[in-house]
């Protein structure tokens, strides 16, 4: 079923065009991004139920202008045909006043050229099997309640079995003198969180599904409850890992975390502008084993960060970041590409209409290879199969990596022993990890349940994943 464009944005489209024209009398480049995102988050656990608007819900606009030297932006969320002149004046006054006061300091403005846009008019409306509005919140909660009750019956160790479901309908409109773009799409996700306790030990894990989908994600979620509970219960007997360097196999969501933290953040090209990315020195050079090919892009694969255009009106692409071990290029927002003289890749994303656009990841993954998981396990004398990503942190300048992982399954003499260590922190030097990749499985899985920050803020929706990979890692 086709997803419908926001009637709110459609209604105000002409107002936005008038505002662009008004501001164009003062500024040589003007664009407006309009956003209308509706979403609901449903939660159920032993002690209660919640149905609230999603954290991604928003409705508003952001104007970008070339102020004669570089770019200024203004975010607002009140508009009407009668208030357009007032809004235009407010934008001019606010942006000019803020810059005027700074002239008394030793700080000046970096210069940027004027964005040269090709004329383009396009629309993208995604399709889902079941539109969220066709299923009532009552039906969704009933389905989640059944799932929770089934989960709770799986083990006496369960303290709780939480079920989360979120549906987000995003509509965006981008208007400038040459561009007229519209898009509307839906992503959904469901997550199971069994929490188990034995004596004073408490453990939990996540099992999730996601995609550019509607209510149909429930079907995928409902078959995962036994696996989720079993995984959590096994964690109760997990041991502490002996710190050291091991042969490791990374499950697809761990591979995705490595791809994301290691060479996703590391090739965000706004970092090139700031001289914060070590990867600049390695463009065209080997940074990983020949088995490694890494993609990022809104069109690279269909997942939660697939779209027609980014938050600066650049069409999404599929960027091959690493091709058979060679670092090819980065991912870029529009202004960084202006500064660097490169082509933007459609990776300019904002947390919301209230925030700045940065170079951000979309759907990031390592492509599959030719190996089989069982052969990878058989090839390891002593090591771990790492599963479950909890969080990660980038270090684009110095190429460190931090991956917080749920568990490691011990491998001895080519076999899984059943012994589990948890939690596991994997650290290391990015090229060491990537150059050590010696086997890559055929199957590729993408996980879009998480989100990505830049530093410690600017949260955006991303997906990542890849194949099972065999490499070496320092675990603690």
């Amino acid at each position: 079923m086709h997803v419908e464009m926001s009637s709110f944005l459609t209604k105000h489209k002409e107002n936005l065009k008038i505002l662009v024209n008004m501001l164009s009398e003062e500024y040589k480049y003007v664009s407006i991004l309009g956003v209308d995102t509706k979403g609901k988050t449903y939660g159920i656990q032993r002690t209660g139920v919640s149905i609230n608007d999603s954290m991604w819900s928003e409705r508003g606009f952001v104007v970008r202008v070339h102020n004669g030297i570089n770019y200024s932006e203004f975010s607002f969320n009140e508009i009407s045909i009668d208030s357009l002149s007032e809004i235009a004046e407010e934008i001019k006054n606010k942006l000019n006043n803020d810059l005027e006061g700074l002239k008394a300091t030793s700080i000046n403005q970096a210069s940027y050229s004027i964005i040269d846009e090709d004329a383009i008019e396009k629309q993208f409306l995604s399709q889902v099997e079941i539109l969220p509005e066709t299923v009532s919140s009552k039906e969704k909660i009933e389905r989640m309640t059944k799932l929770m009750n089934k989960g709770l019956k799986c083990s006496n160790y369960l303290l709780d079995f939480r079920v989360r479901y979120e549906e987000v309908h995003i509509s965006k409109i981008f208007i400038s003198n040459n561009k007229d773009l519209e898009q509307s799409y839906i992503w959904s996700q469901g997550v199971l969180v069994p929490i188990v306790r034995k004596d004073s030990i408490t453990k939990y894990c996540f099992e999730g599904v996601s995609g550019l989908k509607g209510v149909e994600v429930f079907d995928e979620l409902e078959v995962k409850y036994e696996e989720a509970v079993s995984k959590a219960v096994k964690l109760l007997d997990a041991e502490k890992i002996e710190p050291g360097v091991y042969d490791i196999i990374c499950a697809p969501n761990v591979t995705g975390l490595i791809a994301h933290e290691a060479f996703g953040h590391g090739v965000e090209m706004d970092m090139f502008v700031k001289n914060r990315a070590k990867s600049v020195e390695y463009l065209g050079k080997p940074v990983a084993s020949q088995l490694v090919t890494m993609h990022d892009g809104a069109t690279a694969i269909e997942s939660v960060s697939s779209y027609l255009f980014d938050d600066e009106g650049t069409l999404g692409t599929d960027t091959v970041i690493i091709d058979k071990g060679i670092l090819k290029t980065g991912i870029s927002d529009l202004l960084s590409s202006l500064k660097l003289g490169t082509k933007p890749t459609g990776n300019g994303k904002r947390e919301s209409f209230e925030r700045k656009a940065y170079s951000r990841m979309t759907n990031t993954f390592l492509a599959g290879g030719n190996d089989r998981l069982e052969d990878m396990i058989a090839s390891i004398e002593k090591g771990y199969l790492l599963e479950g990503m909890m969080s990660g942190m980038e270090d684009p300048k110095n190429w460190g990596i931090q991956c917080m992982l749920l568990q490691g399954k011990e491998i001895l003499n080519g076999k899984l022993t059943g012994r589990i260590v948890s939690p596991v922190i994997m650290t290391g030097y990015v090229p060491d990890v990537l150059k050590s990749i010696s086997m890559v499985s055929e199957e590729v899985e993408i996980d879009g349940c998480g989100m990505c920050g830049k530093g410690h803020k600017e949260w955006v929706k991303t997906s990542d994943g890849g194949a099972y990979i065999k490499t070496k890692g320092r675990l603690g």
Partner: protein, 433 residues
């Protein structure tokens, strides 16, 4: 829009209560690359959040269902009505144990204090900019880039019980990166600070400190592998470390059995010979960006003691979860103060130690008590000399670590956290080279 909302809410007979959270935010943002402005941004937004409540009974049990929706000021009346009706329908099967809404009271709460009230946002930008770059005068290091945000906010909270409170506040945020080069490659470190008052010395001091730390990192060698190591955590990791106690004294965590902490029991265990934690929540903590006179429900906030010498004295919680536990609500207070300890930092360093100052992202899992982080900068003292180290990681569990830990006499403030500057932990494993 407020009147429109009030009119619509009063016209819907199907609901038993409502709450409106209104926010008007004006802000300016500056993005610097080196000592140049790369972009400036402004913002003026007006937001409404509406919660509707429905009371109902099933099988003899009383429930209060609720659903919260966001309303944009541009939303027309038909759409507002449709959204509120949908929320009302949803609330009718949100089976949460019944609880009362916050009632209006005569308590007069103090206004939020900040020098930022004395001038416009535009007038503060050059002063803050000067503070950021005051210490950026080193030969081998610099501020690589910085992002400055200054927000002026008006908050109003109303509910169907007649509550109607409002207050003005400021919040600021500065994120900056420092570089340093010694003989090897250039290194960088990251810092994020939040504030609510104009304090140029604090900003300049943070930048100076990060430049000094960056110099150390540029000289650092790989962290060695160490077993059963005495570790001193210093600076920013401590806010996350002590957040474990904040979480475990929360009424919601108790109600959901996530926390098993009991009143008048020592959370650190019995017969603890080392330092014990004493923690207070203070809604008016100076220079915290999240200080406020009321919580999100409009409950008037006051300072409250949580732990005294490890003993849990009070749970803290909002109206809903406090009523479930049948305790006096404190409201939601996110500023926490941990009393300093018995030893000076010099005393903590009397024996060999690994002092950890900067992590990639120090993590404390409040549910399991596990903590871990990749080391970006540490100081390793083997009994002879102190050397800066980088790389590798530590991991541990607070339930074990708290049985033997010492808190420094010296204190620090990190936005909503005031506490010891350093703590000493024992028998920590370090994954290194």
């Amino acid at each position: 829009m407020t009147n429109k909302l009030l009119k619509i809410l009063s016209s819907i007979k199907d609901i038993d209560g409502w709450k409106i959270n209104e926010e008007k935010v004006e802000s300016s943002e500056l993005f610097f690359v080196k000592k140049q402005i790369d972009m400036n941004r402004g913002k003026r937004v007006h937001k409404y959040q509406v919660t509707v409540y429905k009371n109902f009974e099933e099988d003899g049990n009383k429930y209060t269902g609720s659903s919260t929706i966001n309303i944009s000021p541009n939303t027309d009346e038909d759409e507002v009505m449709e959204n509120i009706n949908e929320a009302s329908f949803a609330a009718s099967f949100v089976k949460n144990q019944a609880y009362p809404l916050v009632k209006p009271c005569d308590t007069v709460q103090p206004n939020m204090e900040s020098k930022f009230f004395q001038a416009s946002i535009a007038q503060w930008l050059p002063k803050l900019t000067e503070a950021i770059f005051k210490a950026d005068n080193k030969e081998n290091g610099c501020v690589n880039s910085a992002e400055l945000f200054l927000n002026k906010k008006n908050t109003r909270i109303m509910n169907s019980e007649g509550l109607d409170v409002s207050y003005d506040s400021y919040s600021g945020q500065l994120e900056f990166i420092t570089n340093w080069t010694e003989e090897g490659e250039e290194i960088e470190l990251f810092k994020d600070i939040k504030f609510s008052d104009y304090n140029p010395d604090m900003i300049a001091g943070e930048v100076e400190n990060m430049l000094n730390i960056s110099k150390e990192k540029a000289m650092a060698v790989p962290t060695p592998s160490l077993k059963n190591q005495t570790v001193i955590l210093t600076g920013s990791p401590l806010k996350k470390f002590f957040s474990y106690y904040f979480t475990h004294s929360n009424a919601q965590a108790i109600y959901e059995k996530i926390s098993t902490a009991k009143l008048n029991e020592n959370i650190q265990g019995e017969d603890i010979k080392s330092d014990l934690v004493t923690i207070t929540l203070d809604p008016f903590l100076k220079n915290s960006s999240i200080s406020s006179p009321y919580d999100n429900d409009g409950f008037p906030l006051q300072k409250v003691a949580i732990f005294e010498d490890g003993i849990l004295k009070n749970y803290w919680g909002d109206q809903r979860f406090s009523s479930y536990l049948d305790i006096k609500p404190t409201g939601r207070i996110d500023n926490f103060i941990v009393e300093c300890g018995s030893k000076s930092i010099d005393e903590l360093k009397n024996e060999p130690y690994l002092e950890l100052i900067e992590f990639s992202d120090f993590q404390m899992n409040p549910l399991t008590g596990d903590f871990a982080g990749e080391i970006r900068l540490g100081r390793y003292y083997d009994g002879n000399k102190v050397i800066p180290v980088t790389g590798g990681s530590i991991s541990g569990n607070i339930k074990e670590a708290q049985k033997n830990m010492y808190l420094s006499k010296e204190m620090q403030q990190d936005n909503n956290f005031v506490g010891p500057k350093s703590i000493q932990l024992f028998n920590i494993d370090v994954a290194g080279n």
